[in-house]
Point group: C2
């Protein structure tokens, strides 16, 4: 998808000169991009190569009042954000249904489970029950590390939390039971690579 | 696929006596419901029975201005509708990725192709290229008839239109190459039944 700015110009990504993050020794810095930006780029790449069709769902908004200043335009004048009842991303990869939630944390040792809502857990449970593939994609921003965590692992941590255990998933669990995604040149976040490993392991 | 009703009985489709198309005297009127309402009910039914997880995507809205009258609430004060770049519905059915656009028309003899946008055609093309299942679900409201039309058939009509042929798909084509969905008691619009036939035919 090409992004057109209000001035009608086509979006050309700016090349920032040198990444000046203090101790980072990686070639492919994220240059202040949000995880959402990174995933959009990845998904556009997958789409252009016919590797997968994955889109971020629009944020659900409850529209209350709309003005029509002219025949052809509508301006929403009162609206409210609604809580999403599903995950953010879904789509198709080799005929299979893919569904995931993407989150970033500045924590260095664990991922806080409060980032995930119970209705999203229910949604992923339903996906898996219908033979879809559900997972969590986490960026540990400070560490510049990315992981895919299968829904099954997320679920067991979630259930432990409900039994009174810790309210976060420790980095160790991501290292042991998740699938690390190594940032590369382009697309920076190639999650299908990690996904392939994940699906392979779950099936075998 | 067998549908089980809350009473535990196996679902047996009602045999409507004689199909009298023109003035069909059908028992299960749609009682003024929109196609969207009907599909929501169907999708909730499928979800509750673990038959499929299909959701309508939120309408994409570009938010420009947000007020925060209090700490916990946000009111959107200026926003605009954006054109959807994909179809309205997607999800998972028996592990497979399903994607469709649902439209209703009051026309009695054809479905106007202006109801479909070129970016939606592109999206469905991408879905099929990635082995997903894409189709069009049409309600002929005046006739009270519903059809699933495989993307491949839609595509050929679309290409004909671009070559100067008619700008609509005639009812005959739906009857010949589509899969009719007979409204029933509950869920009224059981499109998985028609989908199963469609997938079976495409695969064989």
């Amino acid at each position: 998808m090409t992004v057109h700015y209000p001035n009608g110009k086509k979006f050309v990504p700016t090349k920032t000169p040198n990444d000046s993050k203090p101790n980072r020794k990686i070639d492919f810095g994220n240059r202040g991009k949000t995880l959402e930006d990174e995933l959009n780029e990845t998904n556009e790449f997958y789409l252009s190569r016919n590797l997968a069709v994955i889109h971020k769902k629009p944020v659900p908004i409850q529209v209350v009042k709309v003005d029509y200043p002219s025949r052809s335009s509508a301006v929403i004048r009162e609206a409210y954000y609604r809580t999403a009842s599903t995950t953010d991303y879904n789509g198709v990869w080799m005929g299979r249904y893919i569904d995931f939630e993407a989150k970033e944390t500045k924590n260095k040792t664990s991922f806080p489970l409060q980032n995930i809502h119970s209705h999203q857990m229910e949604h992923m449970e339903n996906i898996v029950a219908n033979q879809g593939i559900a997972f969590l994609l986490v960026r540990f921003s400070t560490l510049n590390r990315y992981f895919l965590l299968p829904y099954q692992v997320l679920k067991s941590c979630w259930e432990d939390m409900n039994k009174g255990a810790r309210k976060s998933i420790s980095l160790n669990i991501f290292e042991d039971k998740g699938f690390e995604l190594i940032p590369k040149a382009f697309p920076r976040i190639d999650y299908l690579e990690a996904l392939e490993k994940m699906v392979h392991q779950i099936q075998s």
